[in-house]
């Protein structure tokens, strides 16, 4: 990705940005996030199929904000997150430079968030058939069996909150789970506490999640928590129309349209 490195060097040299958020080689075969402030370090930038971490998570972190204006290496999942963060008033166009990367690994410039939205409209979120199959199977279970399924799946969780740390949309200054006045969510890693945490996490992403799978990739116990958000995404699409962040649309679940389905109200 010589082109990417050249671009990064140019951005830093011209002082258009003060930090480049990108991918670099990590331990073993893994990649890691890198925050480059000196042109000399730009040669460490890489991009390949191993780079799946969602870098947008760093855009709202105060430690990174302190480094100055960033340029961010942004494959499609990152682009979606950037747009959703914009919808949620967390970033503005002047806050960052987006180094977009197409699925063909080509570098693409975005003049504005609107340009990102236009680009993404040709790259809609698609839930893979294997996941749809699993979701169908889970939904077909009787309630008690489904409950038991999730209790078992969530059992290994020891509340490391890596899912929360990896999610670009979990940017709250104080997470509800950390709130102890009153303590709504039990912090202990017992079945009830785990269930409460994961239900809350999924619900807080309803209508917002852009299906980047960063939570699942971050989970040290490989708990399929992304099934929850994927299912939610399907439900929102079915009930309220198209899905995915859009700048001129209000958030799906906090806005009302007269033609919204009301079949769930009895």
């Amino acid at each position: 990705m010589n082109e990417l490195i050249k671009k990064a060097v140019a951005l830093l040299e011209s002082d258009s940005v003060q930090v480049i958020i990108g991918y670099a080689e990590g331990t073993g075969t893994r990649t890691r996030a890198i925050f480059i402030t000196r042109t000399a370090d730009c040669e460490n930038l890489i991009f390949d199929s191993r780079c799946v971490q969602n870098l947008a998570v760093y855009l709202t972190k105060s430690e990174i904000k302190k480094l100055g204006k960033p340029a961010i290496v942004a494959p499609i999942p990152v682009l979606r997150s950037i747009l959703q963060l914009a919808v949620e008033n967390q970033i503005t166009e002047n806050d960052l430079v987006v180094l977009g990367i197409t699925p063909q690994s080509e570098l693409v410039d975005f003049e504005s968030f609107a340009a990102i939205e236009a680009f993404l409209s040709t790259h809609q979120i698609v839930i893979e058939e294997k996941y749809q199959e699993t979701i169908r199977e889970i939904k077909a279970m009787p309630v008690t069996e489904r409950f038991a399924y999730w209790v078992k799946e969530l059992e290994p969780c020891f509340k490391c909150y890596a899912c929360r740390a990896a999610c670009p949309l979990c940017y709250c200054t104080r997470c509800t789970v950390d709130n102890n006045q009153p303590q709504w969510i039990s912090v202990a890693s017992h079945p009830l506490g785990n269930l409460e945490w994961h239900i809350m996490r999924a619900m807080h992403l309803a209508g917002r999640c852009t299906d980047c799978e960063a939570c699942y990739n971050a989970c040290p116990m490989s708990i399929p928590i992304h099934l929850l958000t994927k299912n939610m995404l399907q439900d929102v699409t079915e009930n309220f129309g198209t899905y995915g962040p859009s700048l001129d649309k209000l958030n799906t679940l906090s806005s009302f349209k007269p033609d919204d389905k009301e079949s769930f109200i009895r």
Partner: protein
């Protein structure tokens, strides 16, 4: 350390007959933090309130729980009592032991236990209550009246005469509504237009009334005292300042065959038209749907003949924003089209008409200049049949309710017919005669006795044409229930009064509730008949339910007086039970992250933004801010806030959690 006082009311026998009040008081007295607990026969009585006041003073209570009726009934009573004793009124809570307990359960142990649980949860809540202070909101002393029928006219005049500004919005080109279409009015038979038009003129001339005709409500935001309404002024295609109402355009317009809405299709009008001669304002509008120029791009005759050059083909709809403190809804009703009842043959036979069409035939300003002539051939009908309840009181095919006005107007129609066609014969098929009202029964008697109208108690099963006559088949259920057949020249159907089309949409725009028939709902069927569930929005006339003119006028004056009461003070005092965004010490300042999901979820547009700055004025953080004047305390934002940064004062997350925990720790 909390010192809570618990006061259990027997409500006479209402609570005590089912709940063991003495035991509730005794058990509550043993709860942690409860300093004093007592039961009494009527806590709302003067001695009952004195009990509370004395306990506050003598025991130094920090909070009060009254276990009695619904807070809707006596919360103000008890809060005021607490205030008089020096306790902040919002340190007083009510446990609803009547509606939520004694009235809905049988007398048994579980019922008393539930009462104890209800009191216990409130004790836990009150421990976390904080003193709160009323919010003062300025009042915009302008009323918006929607609908320019007799209800809207009366309400506007009353409010304007009290010295306040009124904006009257009417969707049609003229005010007047249904009343302007009527011929004579029961029970006095005075001419409808003769009594209405002076009021219409008064509206037009009143310095405090701004009249917006051919206009509709587009959007209503804000709340009591401070609404912001957006009105769509539909393009009239004329310059109202230049038009002098000479009427040349309406006589020269070549498109003349448009069925006149005012004459219920019995007459015609032109494309540029004034609905009726006494219209207010008496200035025409162009009906774009039927105008040759708008449809085909050719004509412009009106523009050529207009002496003042007032025609504006390029005029567009205009949106005006107005600020008002109160809204009176007076959008009226409509009549059900009897074509839904094929057995009556309406739409198939020209001489089967509705009651409203008969009004036009009987009206001096109508298509026949007041002569009763049938629509098909203009002949004077010798025999006429009136069918009451044509759709009303018919749960199977029509509407289940009684349209209320038909008994009286049908008697009036028959009477008018007999007065105009002396040799004619009139018949009325009816279910019951409902003539409750001042001089109403006497009026119906007069029709039967003096004017010899034939009342037949029974229903009509079929109307069909044979040899130029309308054969009306029915049954006379009196006199051994005989089938009846009448050869009539004309039939008048008293079709049901229904809600206006679009009433549901309008209700949603204004956040007022409506019933299953789409009539707007009053806040209380007996005690709040003109209020809606949304504070500051009042109802007048048939938009609430079918009504006759006297009733409509009284309700309109009632609604107007509610608006005037609202305008009698410069400031409104509101309960401080509203949402607030939290604040925390630096460097966090507030746990709000400024995603503004709350703002899009808020049904009252009460959430804006606030910039937190440092001493140098540099913006550190952008957070949500609740406008206390607009917030209704519904709590939607609280449910939406992921970080729990927004809370309802008096119903905080902490208090709710304490209540839930108290219920769960039930041992």
């Amino acid at each position: 350390m909390s010192k809570i006082g618990v006061f259990i009311c027997h409500c006479g026998e209402n609570i005590n007959a089912t709940v063991d009040c003495a035991r509730v008081a005794k058990t509550a007295g043993e709860l942690e933090g409860v300093e004093y607990s007592i039961d009494y026969k009527y806590m709302c009585s003067d001695p009952g309130q004195t009990l509370i006041k004395q306990a506050i003073k003598e025991k130094g209570l920090t909070g009060v729980v009254v276990g009695s009726c619904s807070p809707r009934m006596h919360e103000p009573t008890f809060r005021k009592a607490c205030q008089e004793a020096g306790l902040n009124p919002f340190m007083c809570e009510m446990a609803n032991l009547r509606e939520h307990c004694s009235w809905v359960h049988d007398k048994n142990e579980a019922t008393t236990q539930k009462a104890i649980d209800l009191v216990r949860t409130l004790v836990e809540k009150v421990k976390l209550n904080k003193p709160l202070y009323s919010i003062k909101v300025p009042v915009t002393k302008t009323a918006l009246v929607i609908g320019g029928g007799i209800a809207g006219i009366q309400a506007s005049l009353d409010i304007a005469n009290a010295g306040h500004q009124v904006i009257l919005v009417e969707k049609d080109p003229s005010i007047g509504g249904h009343m302007s279409q009527l011929s004579e009015t029961f029970p006095t038979l005075d001419c409808s237009q003769c009594i209405l038009t002076p009021r219409m003129v008064e509206v037009a001339q009143h310095p405090n009334i701004k009249l917006l005709t051919y206009a509709e409500l587009e959007k209503l935001e804000g709340s009591i005292g401070n609404f912001k309404a957006t009105i769509r002024k539909k393009a009239k295609s004329i310059d109202e300042n230049l038009c002098n109402g000479c009427g040349t355009c309406t006589t020269k317009c070549p498109t003349k065959k448009i069925p006149s809405e005012f004459n219920t299709g019995l007459g015609t009008r032109t494309a540029i038209y004034v609905p009726f001669p006494q219209a207010v304002p008496n200035k025409p509008v162009i009906d774009k749907e039927n105008c040759s120029y708008y449809q085909k791009g050719k004509c412009k005759v009106c523009e050529k003949v207009c002496p003042t050059g007032a025609i504006r083909f390029d005029q567009e709809d205009e949106l005006v924003e107005i600020e008002v403190g109160a809204v009176v809804i007076a959008t009226g009703f409509n009549i059900m089209q009897p074509s839904e009842f094929p057995e009556y043959g309406y739409g198939k036979y020209k001489d089967v008409i509705t009651g409203l069409q008969f009004e036009r035939l009987a009206s001096a300003s109508g298509p026949t200049l007041g002569e009763i002539r049938r629509p098909s051939d203009g002949k004077i009908p010798e025999k006429i049949v009136f069918v009451a309840c044509a759709g009303s009181r018919d749960p199977a095919k029509g509407i289940p309710y009684c349209s209320k006005i038909c008994c009286m107007y049908t008697a009036k129609h028959a009477m008018l017919y007999q007065h105009k066609v002396h040799h004619g014969k009139s018949y009325i098929f009816y279910m019951d005669i409902r003539a409750a009202g001042k001089n109403y029964e006497e009026f119906v008697r007069r029709a039967i006795v003096d004017d010899e109208v034939n009342y037949i108690r029974g229903r009509v099963s079929k109307i069909y044409e044979e040899n130029g006559k309308l054969i009306v088949r029915g049954v006379d259920t009196l006199l051994n229930a005989k089938p009846v057949e009448i050869e009539a020249d004309m039939v008048v159907l008293a079709s049901a009064a229904i809600a206006n089309p679009g009433a549901e949409e309008l209700a949603q725009k204004m956040h007022v509730s409506y019933d299953s028939y789409h009539f707007f709902s009053e806040a209380h069927p007996k005690l709040k008949p003109v209020e809606t569930n949304t504070a500051g929005i009042f109802l007048a006339g048939a938009c609430q339910a079918p009504k006759d003119i006297p009733e409509t006028v009284s309700q309109a004056s009632g609604a107007a007086s509610k608006a005037i009461i609202l305008f009698s003070k410069d400031e409104l005092s509101r309960d401080p039970l509203i949402a607030v965004v939290n604040r925390s010490p630096a460097p966090v300042f507030s746990t709000c992250v400024g995603c503004f999901m709350c703002a899009s979820a808020c049904p009252y547009q009460a959430i804006g933004e606030e910039l937190i700055t440092n001493r140098q004025g540099k913006v550190i953080k952008k957070v949500a801010k609740v406008n206390p004047g607009l917030c209704q305390g519904c709590g939607t934002c609280v449910a939406f806030c992921r970080s729990k940064s927004i809370d309802i004062q008096g119903y905080s997350n902490e208090q709710m959690c304490a209540e839930v925990v108290a219920l769960l720790n039930n041992d």
